[in-house]
């Protein structure tokens, strides 16, 4: 029994939230979901998961990294898809972070979401998200990681659209989802290319490394795979130019923003790239691309964050800035620095987002002490104020418009795409039946709202 403790701990860590998801879904379907039941199920699952995570960490620290093989999912020709798990120090750190953050947010939300209509749905998605995130950080192959990746993507989009009775959350959830899907195509291409070049996608313990990595690919292959994985990671980790969804993701309940966009989901891309270090180490081009993307993101995001005037958007850009720097670190082949940076940033932003509603209170105290300094501007002696007037205005306006990343996408990609779709639809209609499109009847808009 004791020799299988790692496997048992891993099973508990992942299966507990998975079973909780199923249980809550069953309660929902049968109409018996009550707040107390849902909370009890989730709380138990998260605590079990956290216990499993801590056990894994202890085992890994004491007895070193290991791989856990559970079998082959399916085989096609000489490609086999293994359901393997990898437990190394990085995975141990991430699994504790993940289970810990989920437990904490789960606990926080018991009170925060009390009496809210979507309470059950929230916990369903939170449990499912935990499963996805735990799969990402324990996956022994990038194929399995992709499964978790998709779960995280869909739960993230659904929680952004949590308040679905208003149009903006739904729209912004959709935007995040579309961004994820587009970037997932790149990730999928990267995985296929990895299969193609390396004939396998497993990550294996390497005694010379702190964190195990993907199989090394050399030459042009490394560049192709590296760039594809980078594109894949850019979506989840909100890097320029596709990161515009991140501030828009602040539509859900505060704790979901904290765990997704402060702590875990937004760092999933960085985690992927840490695992992909062996690939990047062999491709200066892909590494340079990482540095460029990260640096552009960091600079534009920090400037945008400085001009934004609402607390959640400033925190979104602060996160984006630091994740950009993590990309740079990875481009410089400093995975250990990036790992520490990741964990620290995750904790810091999660905490800051949880406290976001208290900002008035917190700043009031500070302002009391700093009245004089603030009014004379001594504490705000920053670079922007030293720019000449017209340059300052020019840069300020661009920062306020978030450097047009989204607008440019809309103008040059999204709109032409929709125009094309409409043209095809018209063509389709012309070829098919000549029925006039079904008009949706409108409720009388002119009754003065008296009914």
């Amino acid at each position: 029994m004791l020799e299988h403790i790692d496997g048992v701990a891993l099973a508990v860590a992942i299966l507990a939230p998975a079973l909780a998801t199923l249980a809550i879904a069953a309660l929902m379907v049968t109409g018996r979901a009550r707040e107390e039941n849902v909370v009890a199920i989730s709380r138990t699952a998260f605590l079990a998961s956290l216990a499993g995570a801590i056990a894994i960490a202890v085992v890994v620290v004491q007895d070193g990294p290991r791989e856990i093989t559970t079998g082959v999912w399916f085989e096609a020709g000489h490609h086999a898809f293994h359901v393997n798990f990898l437990l190394d120090p990085l995975a141990a750190m991430m699994i504790v972070l993940t289970a810990g953050a989920c437990s904490l947010i789960g606990h926080f939300s018991v009170t925060y979401l009390h009496g809210e209509r979507g309470h059950t749905r929230f916990y369903l998605l939170l449990d499912l998200f935990a499963v996805g995130m735990l799969l990402i950080v324990t996956a022994g192959s990038i194929d399995l990681l992709f499964v978790g990746w998709e779960i995280v993507g869909i739960t993230s989009a659904l929680l952004i659209g949590f308040f679905h009775e208003r149009p903006m959350p739904v729209r912004n959830g959709l935007r995040a989802f579309v961004t994820y899907r587009c970037c997932d195509v790149a990730l999928l291409v990267g995985i296929i290319m990895l299969h193609h070049y390396a004939h396998e996608t497993g990550m294996h313990v390497d005694p010379g490394r702190w964190a195990a990595g993907l199989p090394a690919v050399s030459g042009g292959g490394a560049t192709v795979v590296g760039l594809a994985l980078m594109l894949g990671a850019m979506g989840k980790s909100a890097q320029a130019p596709v990161g515009g969804w991140l501030p828009r993701a602040m539509e859900g309940p505060t704790p979901s923003s904290a765990i997704f966009y402060g702590a875990l989901s937004v760092h999933a891309g960085v985690y992927l790239l840490i695992r992909a270090q062996p690939v990047f180490e062999r491709s200066p081009i892909a590494s340079a691309a990482l540095i460029v993307v990260g640096a552009i993101t960091a600079v534009t995001a920090t400037l945008t964050g400085r001009v934004e005037s609402d607390v959640k958007t400033t925190l979104a850009y602060a996160t984006m800035t630091q994740v950009g720097l993590m990309f740079v670190e990875l481009g410089l082949h400093l995975p250990t620095v990036a790992s520490v940076h990741l964990v620290g940033n995750a904790v810091l932003r999660c905490w800051q987002l949880l406290r976001a509603p208290a900002i008035l209170h917190e700043l009031h105290e500070v302002h009391g002490a700093l009245e004089h300094e603030l009014e004379t501007g001594r504490v705000l002696d920053n670079i922007e104020r030293k720019l000449p007037g017209h340059v300052g205005a020019w840069l300020y306006l661009r920062a306020l418009d978030r450097f047009y990343f989204e607008a440019l996408f809309d103008r040059f990609l999204v709109r032409p795409f929709f125009a094309l779709a409409r043209a095809l639809a018209r063509l389709d209609e012309g070829l098919g039946t000549s029925d006039t499109p079904v008009a949706v009847p409108r409720r009388a808009a002119t009754d003065g709202g008296k009914r």
């Binding site: 939300s109 009496g115 903006m168 912004n172 800035t321 520490v340 509603p357 808009a445 003065g448």
Partner: protein
Amino acid sequence: MNVVELRKTDEEPWRASLEEAIAHIAHLLPTQAPLPAFVHHNTLHAFEHLPFHEAVAEAQRIFGAEPYLPEDRFREAFARGRIRAEDLDFALEGLPDADEPVAPGLTRSALCRLLMLHEVEPLAGAELDYAIHEGSLLDQPIEGADAAALDRTVATIVERGEAWVRGRASVEEGEAGVVDRLGPIGRRLRVDPQPLALRCLWARCLELSTLPASRTAQTAPWRERLRTDHGVDVEDELHPTLIRLCGAYLDGGLAYWPMPHRELGFYRGFLELASASSSLPAPWRGRLRTEARRERADKLDALGSIRRSLESLGIAPERWERVLTDEALALPGWAGMFRRLQSHPRDRVRALDYALEDYLAVRLLVERCILEDIAGGAGFDSAREMLDAGRPVDCSEVREGAATLFRVAQLAGLDLETLEALDDGRPLLEAIDALHSTLRRSIWQEAYERQQRHEALDAISAVAEVQRTRSEPQPEVQVAFCIDDREESIRRHLEELGTRYQTWGIAGFYGLAIAYKGLMDAHERGLCPASREPDHRVHEVPQDEEGAKRWERRWKLVGRTGFAGHVSSRTMLRGLSLSIAGALEAVPMAIRVVAPRKAHRFRETMRNAVLRPPPTRLTALREGELGYDIEEAADIMADIFQTAGWSEFAPLVVILGHGSTTSNNPHEAAYQCGACAGGPGGPNARLFAHLANLPAIREALRARGIDIGDETYFVGGLHDTCADEIRLDDLEDVPESHRDLLASTRKDLEAALDQNAHERCRRFKTISLEASPKAARAHVEARAQDLAQPRSEYNHCTNALCLVGRRWLERGLFLDRRAFLVSYDPTRDPDGTILANLLASVGPVGAGINLEYYFSTVDQDHYGCGTKLPHNVTGLHGVMNGHESDLRTGLAYQMIDIHEPVRLVTVVEATVERLEAIAEGNPAVGRLVSNRWIQIVAMDPDDGTLTELTHLGWRRYEPKRDQVGVFDRSLDAYRSTRANVAPCRVRAGLEKTDA
């Protein structure tokens, strides 16, 4: 640059008409202050000149907001007895032409009752098709249908025979739909006659309502027309840009990089910025740059720009106000914040110009550019041409009338022959139309309020009758609380301890309208009702200025570090180091989330070890510009005592203000004292007590007829209504002679606080009803510190009543924390001037609180700010819903979820004549009373008879005193229920022996 110079001529008539239009619009916008200065106010204050029901209907027309609860909530209340049949009868009495017949055997009043009790929602278009073809509209009688009438119809058609029915079908030959529907009749006839009877009724209803509906189509705002005609939404482009700009301009310190050029004002500063715009991301931005440069070159001011925008869009001057109203109300929160800062300079954090016309000018300028862009894309030469091309949409449908008639006929028992006898369905349809939902709900509202009002009056009268026969023993301790409804329970619990205690209800600023700056505050803030300007400045200063220097240095160091951490964590390179070290934050995060109370105590201990503030004093008496003169203070204090009828003083008098500690709550100010403009009232109480102890003041008071003996000592303090804590100030000054009495009082206060917490906890579903008072106390303390807690306390959520009268007559009255209690003695107010002043100050405060709760409850989207969960603090002045929404005003769902929206029942110990005289003399009170924004009840000071002002005028009310519950203690009254408890009598603490 001076704006005045920019105006070409002030005589231009368009300028005056724009100014006038904007002045009108300004009244329609929310007047909520920035959140740190949140004060409850009547959401529809601008409509107070209208009677309540007319005002809410008018607001519904303008804002599209709900005026009352939804009708099914009223029906549900009726079903469970919360509204009694007699209440409904009484409320229906107000209906004009109630007895007029609208159809054979059906009076208007009966029709109204039918429509109220049964849901007859409008059915048209696809919904109607669905109800006919897929639903059972024509197959089964609707719920509540008169079975006898249907039987009569069946008898009629059976008598007339199948041929008639077939012929009946052929009459409708032209209307394919009807034939269709009558098609299967032949087959069905042999099985069940009901569907056929219904179909014949339906056919008749169709005939009766062939006349086109009389509704006129309005022209919708252009945004809606563009949505319908072109499938584009201007707001998609406009609002993100505009919201960011507004946020940046209005920011009070959240953004690290303030908006350049903002010292020029919003409009002119924006022109400077927009002149640097790029056309790369969207063509309209290029147009914006051109236009901005042109307006800058033309030296336009905001009004000039508005005119240019309106004219270029082809809006005729007579429609300007209408269009500008639509524009302002598209984002009422943001527009309202400009307006608020414009009209209330004291709310400004930055010394900038704020003007509604600036906001409108910028909005229209950007919108105009986007519209031109859209027009170009849609093949028009200009936006003007595109907007002219829009047509009003006609939405009326004949069948809608028939569907309504059909269901009403079933409910009202109108059989086929009766309908055939009608030669025109129009009067009946018009009568139904006239009894629209808003009208019906106004009747429901009256009925809903009546039941609750009478329950309260029964108990008030029952207690007063008992108390009238008793004489009041001398108390040893007097405690003054704010009139706040949250203090009702603690006063009761304290008095239940025995006649040793006597409590008073006085508006929590205690007459001292001060601008106060605490030791650790950055700025002064007004601690007096929002309707008043502070007239004295009082600061809290260290007793030993020199000795406090070290503390101050440490404090500033901590503040500077905190601020640096706040800013740095958001920047790039400083943020890098902080976020690498960020993992250390896991410890405080976990502890504060998991054990908020312990974490708080630990933090307080640490804080006190490092940063314990030095002993302080208030600048009570004049020191330069600060403090009061003896005579000024004595005038105010004498007035307070006289108003309350407070003439005999116990050895110990405790004066308590109140405030509320809540964590993670942007609406913190809303939980503080309403009489202190959303600030905690502790300083006022402390100041009052301090002044009252000064021999010079006592001397001056004696000259004014208030004799405070030497054996009396005053102590001030603060009641934290969230954590249920009482902190007393300046205890080191208490003389030796009073220490024992003070100690035993503090013990009793603690006991009362435990009970108070226990009573509050029954409303919180997260703690068991069986919890002990100690456990309840710990629970509320944790609530105050819990970052995850969106309902740290329920605030005024249950407010419904206001009593103005003698406390002794209310002693032993259980009001379930629902009442504002104002101490007033009519026997010392021969000419009513005291009452007039009292009502002028507490009337608007109480009504403001009550009505803000009312409106936020009946329409969370328009009047309230929705659920707190996605709230996002913006610019230190407001919250948005998530990312880039309108600024949300009003109260959050978590503040109102157990609120019953009723107008404040205000019971005043005065005669009707006196109340009428006061209402006439003071327009602010008069509007509230005679337009029935509050429900006023006169309680005769001599014999206690009750007269209430109803929708039918003043009516005498005979209370049912014998139906009032009697309990030993409050605990017995509220135990084991989370719902509202009917007012009742409590016996504890009335007899001297109880002490």
